[in-house]
Structure formats: structure tokens, C-alpha cells
């Protein structure tokens, strides 16, 4: 690399960071959407009567089965076809968020079922309604149990945010391609910088989730980690 290449690389970093901010915005949007819808789908799958729970299973099957890229195109260009005004950013949050909701629903379903049916029966027997039992007994435990698998989903969707570039969101990956297009010699170094950004973010995110897990751990009720209970 020549001095000019190094200079261009350094000049490009603020622009890349502004792009990364867009990825983080997508991330928070999609995680929030995926979390809310995911819990709803999980509760419906576990507690609802047949027709509704079958519908939830169908939803989960669809959004887990269709490739993310296809979902992005479906939502962005598909809605465009019907003249529904939607920005690439919102389309990315919706497409990736719904996809994540299907995965998150399975994390929460597993966690809810791990809490066990007998706790629900016990809660009902002391006079709680089903909703109260879910709110005060089941979810507090289920959410704790779901943190480890959820952190896996977090790492996965964090990286998926770069897919938004395919529908025209100007995020970090797209910015890196602009820089590569401006100076071909930066092809390798610029994507190494992007890789480092994501390595840092997955590390920081997983560390924070690990801290959350430790903070809310109830002795004796944690998920069975390696060497902890054996």
C-alpha cells in the first residue's frame, strides 16, 4: 500500500463509522420488532387453541424458510409495486425484523416450555388468571433462560444488517464498496476494517448479554452451562 492508499483508508473511516451507525439503527429496529412479535408468536404457539397456534406455526415456517434476501426484495420491491411508499431503511427493518421474530419465537417457545406446565397449574390454582401467570410467573423465568440462545440470534442479525445494502440502504458495507470503487487498492484493507468493526460489535454485544445473564441469574434456575451443574 502506498502513502496515498493509507491516507484514503484513514479518510474513509469516519464515513464507514457513519455507515455503521445505520447498521446499528437497523439492528435496534429489527431486534425490537423481532422481540415483540417473537414473544407473541411463542405464547400463541404454546397456549392458544389449535387454529390460532397453527397459524403461528405457519408464520414461523414462512419467515424461517424464506431466504433473507428474498424477504428484503419481497417487502421492498413487492410493496413498491402496489405504490406503497416505503423507504429502504424501513423495509430492511421490517423484513429482517419479521425474519428474526420467527427465530426468536422458537427461542422463547423453548424457554417457556422449559419452565414447565406444572408452574402454570400452580399459578392458576392460587387464583391467578392465565395472563397474570404468564406475566408474573412464566415469562420472568423464561426470559432468563432465553438469554444464552438469544445472544446467538443477536450475533446473527447484527451481521444480517449488511444485507440491507441490497435494497439501497447506504450502510457500512455499501460505504466500503464506494471506497473500494474509488481506490481499488483498498479492496482488501477496507473490508478488513469492516470485519474488525463487526468483530468488535459481536464481542461487545455478547459481553453485555453475558453481563445481563449474570445480573438476573437465579441460583439453581440458570440454563445448564458447561460444567455448572455436573
Amino acid at each position: 500500500m502506498t502513502a496515498v492508499d493509507w491516507q484514503n483508508l484513514v479518510q474513509g473511516i469516519p464515513s464507514l463509522l457513519r455507515g455503521l451507525l445505520v447498521n446499528l439503527e437497523i439492528l435496534f429496529g429489527l431486534i425490537a420488532l423481532g422481540f415483540a412479535v417473537g414473544i407473541l408468536i411463542a405464547l400463541i404457539q404454546v397456549y392458544s387453541p389449535r387454529p390460532l397456534s397453527a397459524l403461528a406455526v405457519g408464520y414461523e415456517w414462512f419467515f424461517r424458510g424464506v431466504p433473507e434476501m428474498v424477504l428484503l426484495m419481497l417487502i421492498y420491491f413487492g410493496l413498491r409495486q402496489f405504490r406503497v411508499g416505503i423507504t429502504p431503511f424501513i423495509a430492511a427493518v421490517i423484513a429482517l425484523g419479521l425474519r428474526s421474530s420467527a427465530y426468536q419465537s422458537q427461542i422463547f417457545r423453548g424457554a417457556i416450555q422449559a419452565v414447565g406446565r406444572r408452574q402454570m397449574m400452580a399459578a392458576l390454582s392460587v387464583g391467578m388468571t392465565r395472563l397474570q401467570a404468564i406475566r408474573h410467573v412464566i415469562l420472568p423465568q423464561a426470559l432468563r433462560l432465553s438469554i444464552p440462545p438469544w445472544s446467538n440470534e443477536f450475533s446473527s442479525v447484527l451481521k444480517d444488517t449488511t444485507l440491507a445494502s441490497a435494497i439501497g440502504v447506504i450502510e457500512v458495507f455499501k460505504k466500503a464498496r464506494f471506497i473500494m470503487g474509488r481506490n481499488y487498492a483498498l479492496a482488501l484493507p477496507i473490508f478488513m476494517v469492516v470485519a474488525l468493526f463487526f468483530l468488535f460489535l459481536t464481542y461487545a454485544g455478547n459481553w453485555a448479554l453475558g453481563a445481563l445473564e449474570r445480573r438476573y441469574r437465579i441460583p439453581g434456575f440458570e440454563a445448564k452451562g458447561a460444567g455448572e451443574r455436573f
Partner: protein, 308 residues
């Protein structure tokens, strides 16, 4: 009496205010394709097409937003009304004119065949055979040329399509391609970035570039763009050909903003242009002066600083 005028004037005033606020058009451009459009390392969008768009917007009193869109998605985006103008070195072709409307032509380009200097090709005949791999950007006239003049006619070459032009050039440098077909100015830019490349030959395709808008020009933009190009200093010498293809000769008013923009963008290295652009762009939005002065000062400043 005074009250009545006020009552009448108020809605008109508000209407005018609304129109001023609403007059913002989205310009779609495929970045990067230097020197017509690219992003500087700091992330500014610049290039000949984009600055022509900016200058016309200043002259005609509207605002623009530049949105990077992949080349083969620009026409669909214009058709769907997602963006208003396509400014990305678009060749005016009959096929494209079926779905969009073009401005007057603003540039004449030919296709260049780019190869590595160490390659053994002496002529196009050596290259266009034997299963050689030729790269081009998807949706461009360069790709079309290879498809219809070589592949469709059974010449033994393989056309490899890329989403962006620089990626094709990178594969040529890396030896994964034997040649790249692309417009001349962009090819010259690649050679200055990559001395190991050279132009094997020029394909005289005589392509005219135009800016494009949705079919029927629903927002009345073509008039503004055409007038704007004229005011910037682009003239035509219309001599209709005796036979065959119509041919337009461009004539640029010496010392006009158009002249300066051409001098700034076609010649100096990109980093010089970027530094000049950063130093000069402020003059284009200097509210203290008339639009004509601002455009002239900006273009002149850009040309002078870029060639210092």
C-alpha cells in the same frame, strides 16, 4: 379593500410556500463510476453528472437529493416514481426510451476495450475468440454490445457481468478476466489508477448520454434540465447526416461553467478533484449572490483548483 387583498393573498402565499418547500427532486446515480459519479474517501458524492445536476438545480431554484442506486435499478426506480431523475452516464437508446424520457444529449462516448499490458492480444480479433472472458457492468451499453455483437453471433467469448464497474476492473487486474468493455472516460480513469492496464481498441459506438426522467415527464423536469444545460454553456451543432445514424456535434461555450466542469472532471487525478470540490462547493450555495454567479464561480474554482 386592504383586508380583502390580504384574504386573497394569504392562501396564495401559503401555496407558494408549500411549493417552494416541496420542490426537491431525488437524483439517482450509480456510484462509483468516476469521473461521472463517485464517492470521495470522506463520503461526499461528486462527479461530472452530479455537479451538472447541482448547478442546474441552483439555476432553476430547486433542491436535489443524491441517492446512490445500483445501475440496473435506476430505470425501475424512475419508472416507479421512487426517484425523479436518473443521472448516471445513461446512453440514450431506443429500448430505454420506451420506458423513460431523456433530456438532450450531453456527452458523446465510445466503448473502450481494456486489457492488461502483459496480455498477448494484438487486436480485437485476437481477443474475441477462444473462450476469452470479457467483463462488463450489468445493464450497461458495454454489456449490451458484447452480448449482441459477440455472444449472440456465436463468437466464442464469455460475458461476465458485474454490479459495479470497479469490480470488473479489479477482476481484470487479478487475471480473472481477459478484457473489460466500458465507456472511454471511465476506462481512462482506471488506467491512471492501474498502470498495468491499457486500452486495446476503441469500439466506435457513438453513444450519447442523457439524463432521464419518468415517461411523459410528469414533473416537468426535462425543460428545466435542457434549459439548465444551455445556460451552463452546452450548445449543439445539429448537422443531420446524409444517411444512417443522426449525429450531434457538441459545442461548448469557452469559459462557460460547462467548459470549466469538463476541464475539472476530465483530466486531473481524482484526489485533486476531491480537494478542489471540498474547497469550492461552498460557493455554489453562497446565498449572497445570484444563481448564475454562484454556478460560474463554483465551476471556475473547481477547474482552477483541480488543475493547479
Amino acid at each position: 379593500m386592504g383586508r380583502r387583498i390580504l384574504v386573497l393573498a394569504l392562501p396564495l402565499f401559503l401555496l407558494g410556500l408549500g411549493a417552494v418547500g416541496a420542490e426537491k427532486y431525488i437524483v439517482a446515480s450509480d456510484i462509483p463510476w468516476a469521473p461521472f459519479e463517485w464517492a470521495s474517501p470522506e463520503g461526499d458524492y461528486l462527479g461530472f453528472d452530479l455537479d451538472v445536476m447541482r448547478c442546474i438545480a441552483v439555476l432553476k431554484g430547486y433542491a436535489i437529493e443524491i441517492r446512490p442506486v445500483a445501475f440496473d435499478s435506476i430505470i425501475p426506480a424512475v419508472v416507479l416514481g421512487e426517484v425523479d431523475i436518473g443521472a448516471s452516464g445513461f446512453t440514450i437508446t431506443a429500448k430505454r426510451e420506451e420506458v423513460v424520457d431523456f433530456s438532450n444529449p450531453y456527452w458523446l462516448s465510445n466503448q473502450a476495450v481494456l486489457i492488461r499490458k502483459d496480455a498477448a492480444f494484438k487486436s480485437l480479433d485476437d481477443l474475441f475468440c477462444c473462450g476469452h472472458k470479457i467483463g462488463a457492468q450489468r445493464g450497461t451499453t458495454g454489456a449490451d454490445w458484447v452480448q449482441s455483437n459477440l455472444v449472440d453471433k456465436g463468437v466464442d467469448v464469455k460475458l461476465v457481468l458485474y454490479e459495479t464497474y470497479p469490480e470488473a476492473v479489479l477482476d481484470l487486474v487479478n487475471g480473472r478476466l481477459d478484457a473489460v468493455v466500458q465507456d472511454e472516460p471511465a476506462s481512462q480513469q482506471s488506467i491512471s489508477a492501474y498502470p498495468e492496464l491499457k486500452v486495446l481498441d476503441i469500439l466506435e459506438t457513438n453513444e450519447y448520454f442523457g439524463f432521464l426522467v419518468a415517461s411523459g415527464d410528469p414533473k416537468g423536469l426535462l425543460r428545466k434540465i435542457n434549459d439548465g444545460m444551455y445556460e451552463l454553456g452546452l450548445r449543439y451543432d445539429l448537422s443531420l447526416p446524409a444517411e444512417g445514424q443522426w449525429k450531434v456535434k457538441f459545442y461548448i461555450v469557452p469559459g462557460s461553467p460547462w467548459d470549466y466542469l469538463v476541464r475539472a472532471y476530465f483530466g486531473p487525478p481524482l484526489e485533486k478533484v476531491e480537494a478542489a470540490w471540498k474547497a469550492c462547493i461552498g460557493t455554489l450555495y453562497d446565498k449572497g449572490r445570484t444563481p448564475e454567479e454562484r454556478v460560474y464561480e463554483f465551476a471556475k474554482c473547481l477547474a482552477e483548483k483541480a488543475s493547479e
